[in-house]
Subunit: 214 residues, 2 copies
DNA sequence: TAAAAATATTGATCTATATCAATTAATTAT
DNA sequence: ATAATTAATTGATATAGATCAATATTTTTA
């Protein structure tokens, strides 16, 4: 994204950026709050979730890691956050004023294009998630969750995660009890190994089949 | 959106645009097809839906009417359509090449900003829909569906629609049988009147309460 | 290290909603 | 107008997954 900026603009960002360090569990920003800065994850991991104002339920939309950037849909619209960002572990985030972005978009068309490309790629993922969460049953949704973690987040079929069972449930839009039962089933069928926060995907093909059959 | 273009650019659009007339039920473009043009709905109504490649199920994301424009998330990413657009009634759509858009974005920063604003406002609506479809039960989802049609589409608490019961089900991510049963319940409780495709919302407050309580 | 708190697990039960099947009503075609 | 399709409705049934409750484990705090 930033590669489209001029040297001057990069300098300006560097001089004005504000780096913040978060501990695990700390909130970076919350739904409803003012969207004043774009955020770039420099190190650590962040979970992004939608909060339902009328219930305690939430959906974990995605997990971000370096060097992901966060510029929510409030940008250029209502200037408020539409999702909540929480550090999953020790995390460093770099804040850049949105006003600066608007300037960059005006002075640098390549940058505008890059931002829109970024937003559109996120929308494609949201569409997939929407179909998964509304049409698949719990086994299919949990398969999607495990494949997401292995393929997109940890980039390894063996991984340890700080995500709780409730978090996995929130990724998959189901209850933690159901999550636990399905993880147990998958373990018993030899599809995965799952001990506390240690996961191993043994039979990815089968997981993909379960994902497709729903 | 187009108000940000120069006279020359508007002329260029006007000289190069291609107007197509569709009958009810005709497909304008389909998921997976190449995204070559942006589309502007000049007259009529269009339903936009996500298709699941692994099942026959679909989600109607939104309904478009004049002068909505359609520029899906394939723009600047994979150049393919991620949703399907079908004319609900006699509809005229105006096609504008995406290559032209990229040029406009380069030469006209205001235009880029307007496009991103448009996309972001759609994303906000998607977030709400995602929460509604995954966390609410059928009554809440059907209340949301009726409120959407009355408030955003027909802009009247009394409306006739060409949408079938299956379409209403696809808006709400449920079966047509459940849709029918809930519409009947709402009618019996005096919340709505519903005869074939004629709808009247009698007690909007109650509908809003049902929407909130889920 | 012990106590307290939080998280995970298991089992039993309940219910919302899908599914299936049959009937009726409304369109469309002949 | 009548037949043939297609869509809507109703009823009966099945079941996936939520909910509730109790216990066990892990983590945190004192």
């Amino acid at each position: 994204m930033f590669c489209y900026l001029s040297d001057d603009q990069l300098h300006e960002i560097n001089d004005n950026r504000r780096e913040v360090r978060y501990k695990a569990g700390e909130t970076i920003f919350k739904t409803g709050g003012p969207l004043t800065h774009m955020i770039c994850i420099t190190s650590g991991m962040v979970k992004i979730y939608l909060e339902d104002e009328n219930s305690e339920k939430r959906i974990i939309l995605s997990i971000l890691k370096p060097v992901d950037l966060v510029l929510g849909p409030g940008f250029l619209t209502d200037n408020s956050h539409h999702f909540t960002a929480v550090a999953m572990e020790e995390t460093v985030a770099c804040f850049i004023k949105v006003s600066r972005h608007e300037e960059f978009m005006k002075s640098n068309p390549e940058y505008s294009t890059a931002i829109l490309r970024h937003v559109n790629s996120k929308v494609i993922l949201q569409f997939q998630k929407m179909l998964s969460l509304t049409h698949k049953q719990t086994h299919g949704k949990m398969a999607d969750c495990l494949l997401y973690l292995a393929n997109s987040i940890y980039e390894n079929d063996v991984f340890d995660t700080v995500l709780s069972r409730q978090d996995l449930a929130d990724i998959s839009a189901m209850t933690k009890e159901t999550t636990i039962r399905i993880l147990k089933e998958f373990s018993e069928e030899g599809i995965i190994i799952c001990n506390n926060n240690h996961f191993e995907i043994l039979d990815k093909e089968k997981l993909e089949k379960i994902s497709i059959s729903g």
